[in-house]
Amino acid sequence: MTRWLLRRTAQAVLTFLVVTVLLFVLMRLTPGDPLQRLEGDRQMSAEESAALRRRFGIDQPMGAQFRTFVTGALAGDLGVSIEHYPTPVTTLLVSRLPASLLLGGTVLLLTFGIGIVLGVFQAVHRGRRADRWLTRASLTLYAMPSFWLGLVLAWYFGIRLQLLPVAQMHDPLLSPDATWLVRAGDVLRHLILPALTLTAVSIAAVMHYQRTALLEVLRLDFVLAARARGLPERQVLWRHAWRNALFPVVGLFGLWLPILVSGSVFVEQVFNWPGLGHLAADAVGARDYPVILGTAMLVSAQVLLGGVLADLAYYALDPRVRRA
């Protein structure tokens, strides 16, 4: 187990390093000028532009820039944002991480919590009207672009009904004296629409995976044997069949884990949710190299960690994997 874990971790670290170098090089080869956004709609002189390039070190050759980046990164310094000068990239990442974790965590919880239950329900009621309607409804939501659904929900619940906030993570005017309960309630109200949007467009995959996996398992001999032993159907379903039908969903969960950090670019933009996805999208548009690199490194670390965690979960859940 230890040797396997060490090998898997070493692979992940190596992949992370390769990804980081590739990101650094590709980003600088991509066309685009990071100073364009600073220029705004008032044109900048050549001297001003040169002074700003010197300030951000982007007047240097790529090799020198890479050396500066590596030296800084080893000391935990990812540089200073161009767009949000003079804020350090690490400060930006740390300030945006909680919003991403909250939205991503809520979406994962809702998508997998509700998706698994509905998938099991569909498998048990295979071919019946409820199964057919749930498939149609989930696929319809799946086919909707998330930003479009977000805009529709924002318009209906936020503007037409004036029930829920249409943007931001919290009320910027909330009094500093507000209790934690009031603060939590405020964040919850702001969370509803983006979380609902992301859950609605994602849930179909979990339902489909769970339904298919459970239908496969329900056909197997050990389920028949359990029924033959006279076990109650609920026990057969949840204790025997469902546990064995969980592995594909665990794999899917591992793949989806990065959403915790990356969030959803489109939904975060539509709801102005201050997460890392939003930050990354703005940074890409502005060619804010240090921020792009910082967010990309964080997401790639999360992808690799998700893979390792999914493998560990397989290892823990499936004795066949342990034996292999």
């Binding site: 600073l38 002189s45 001003e48 949000h84 943007a167 209790t179 999208a281």
Partner: protein, 543 residues
């Protein structure tokens, strides 16, 4: 289970009610007294000498810092009379090269220190330093020195006698607190404590900035011109256009500087809780013709260096129709690089109607004919085909680019529309890698600002299309030094000359629709400094 749920609910209600009711009242009061402005770009710092010259930065400057004087309602930048005193109570002229300002003795920095002439001299001298602010140094090149005579009197001496001396002394930079800035090394200003939490002398003081999200200012009750009405100003940075509009429509925000596109304005105007205030702007939109070959900037452009081709393109376009369809009443066609607010604008100017037949004839006279019948004119075996670059974030550029493409197709010119990501568009523009380029610029209030983009000296800098006409340069130089009446005639001749040279198709000059919540009364918007009068607004109850 049911019992537990009810108990939990009850407990939550009990917890929430005693704390919640007074808090909700306080919350409502705070919201009522706050003006929430939604912007697309982050206001990084209100200190104009430290970062790029973005409109967002300048907006915060308007709220926190007072200039010595502001340009008056007619936007006349020439002479000494049409300015409104701000920090300076008055100004006198010692001779044709020297102005003396008398500062208002009531003015204080927000840390209580009096504003003195030393502060004003420091800011002007900082801005004149090319190492600190190259752009402003260029604009202030005719300022010889700024000196504090005593606490209340500032002397500004100029290198030459010209009519815009006062404008130069007061418009480009506001005084900075010498007791905080003077000790900071010039190269370290951007990262100084003052830059992160600046102290101004205006109606609002800095509270905090959450990078990429919001900037919070609070009323400065010691402001010597009066007590600010809105107690707080919150500027939200929202990059998505739909999210910005949703915030206003849902009542979470109060002010949005809207796009002038008719579709956007109509959507906002349909909401009875929102009022649209027209604010004439200094913005001009145009399509530049690159006069250099994008493949080799040392050579003239193979097609666009010919004045007849550029003129024919302008003639073929129905500028008035395009502007009407895209902006409705929120824009007009400019004569040249002169915004509708400029004091030298010719009010009698009417754009020539489109003349596709004339354009075809002109092109034919230069040898452009459709020899192979494919609908595209050609000459020496080469088709009359050009690329038009525009930045993808600009919805109006996208709409206009397609109209231009279609109208030019009808006279036999093939336009390849290139929708580019903002930073890529900017990079290509700066490198001169384009045929036609869609640009929109906020011009300086002074018509002398034309020198940046439309003079030979501006080539390689703001003059991205390498346009150069020595006659324009000499007209601009004469206008700068001429008294107002002569200057007006000279500037108008400059604009006519530029229009005849056709370095660009001048498409539109907009009126900015400011969408403001109906609960805000006494709304006053100053075109040269839109947010400078926010302190006089009266916010009412939140509906």
């Amino acid at each position: 289970m049911r019992h537990v749920s009810r108990s939990t609910l009850l407990a939550l209600c009990l917890l929430a009610t005693p704390a919640g009711v007074p808090l909700a009242t306080a919350q409502a009061n705070t919201r009522q007294e706050t003006v929430v402005i939604v912007g697309a770009q982050e206001a990084a710092t209100p200190i104009p000498t430290l970062l790029g010259n973005t409109a967002a930065n300048m907006a915060v400057t308007d709220l926190m810092f007072l200039p010595l004087a502001r340009i008056g309602r007619n936007n006349i930048t020439s002479g000494d009379k049409d300015f409104i005193p701000q920090l300076a109570r008055s100004w006198t002229r010692r001779d044709s090269l020297t102005l003396v300002f008398e500062l208002d003795s009531r003015a204080r920095w927000q840390d209580g220190v009096p504003v003195t002439a030393r502060d004003a001299a420091l800011a002007l001298n900082l801005a004149r330093d090319p190492a600190v602010d190259p752009q402003r140094a260029l604009l202030l090149q005719l300022v010889a020195e700024a000196t504090a005579l005593d606490d209340q009197h500032l002397l500004v001496r100029f290198k030459e006698a010209y009519d815009e001396q006062l404008y130069d002394a007061v418009y480009h930079v506001s005084p900075l607190p010498a007791h905080l800035v003077d000790t900071v090394p010039r190269g370290a200003l951007g990262k100084s404590a003052f830059a992160s939490a600046p102290i101004g002398n205006g109606p609002y003081r800095w509270v905090r900035r959450v990078p990429g999200q919001q900037l919070e200012l609070t009323a400065n009750d010691q402001f010597f011109l009066g007590r600010p009405g809105p107690r707080k100003v919150l500027i939200l940075t929202v990059s998505d256009a739909e999210a910005r509009m949703n915030l206003l429509l849902s009542g979470s925000a109060d002010v949005l500087q809207s796009s002038a596109m008719i579709a956007t304005v109509s959507r906002l105007a349909a909401d009875k809780r929102i009022r649209i205030y027209p604010m004439p702007s200094f913005s001009v939109g145009y399509v530049s013709f690159n006069q250099r070959d994008p493949a080799d900037l040392g050579r003239p452009h193979p097609i666009l260096s010919d004045l007849a081709v550029r003129t024919a393109i302008t003639m073929a376009l129905d500028r008035r129709g395009m502007v009407q369809a895209t902006f409705g009443p929120w824009a007009s066609v400019p004569q040249g690089p002169i915004p509708q607010m400029s004091w030298v604008r010719d009010p009698g100017y009417k754009p020539a109607p489109p003349d596709p037949a004339g354009a075809r004839a002109l092109l034919r006279s230069r040898g452009w004919v459709d020899t192979d019948g494919d609908g595209v004119l050609d000459k020496d075996g080469k088709p009359l085909a050009l690329g038009l670059n525009y930045p993808s974030p600009s919805a109006q550029a996208g709409v206009l680019a397609l109209q231009i493409q279609e109208q030019l197709r009808q006279v036999g010119i093939r336009i390849e529309v290139n929708r580019l990501e903002g930073s890529v568009w900017g990079e290509r523009r700066n490198a001169g890698a384009f045929d036609l380029d869609f640009g929109q610029a906020t011009m300086d209030p002074s018509p002398a600002g034309m020198v940046q983009t439309w003079s030979c000296a501006g080539r390689g800098g703001s003059n991205k299309a390498y346009y150069c006409d020595p006659k324009v340069d000499s007209l601009l130089a004469l206008a700068l030094r001429a008294p107002r009446k002569e200057a007006l005639a000279l500037y108008r001749e400059t604009v006519r000359t530029i229009a005849a040279d056709a370095p660009a198709v001048f498409l539109f000059t907009t009126t900015t629709p400011m969408a403001v919540s109906d609960r805000i009364k006494n709304v006053e918007l100053v075109p040269v400094a839109p947010w400078s009068a926010v302190w006089r607004w009266s916010p009412g109850p939140v509906p």
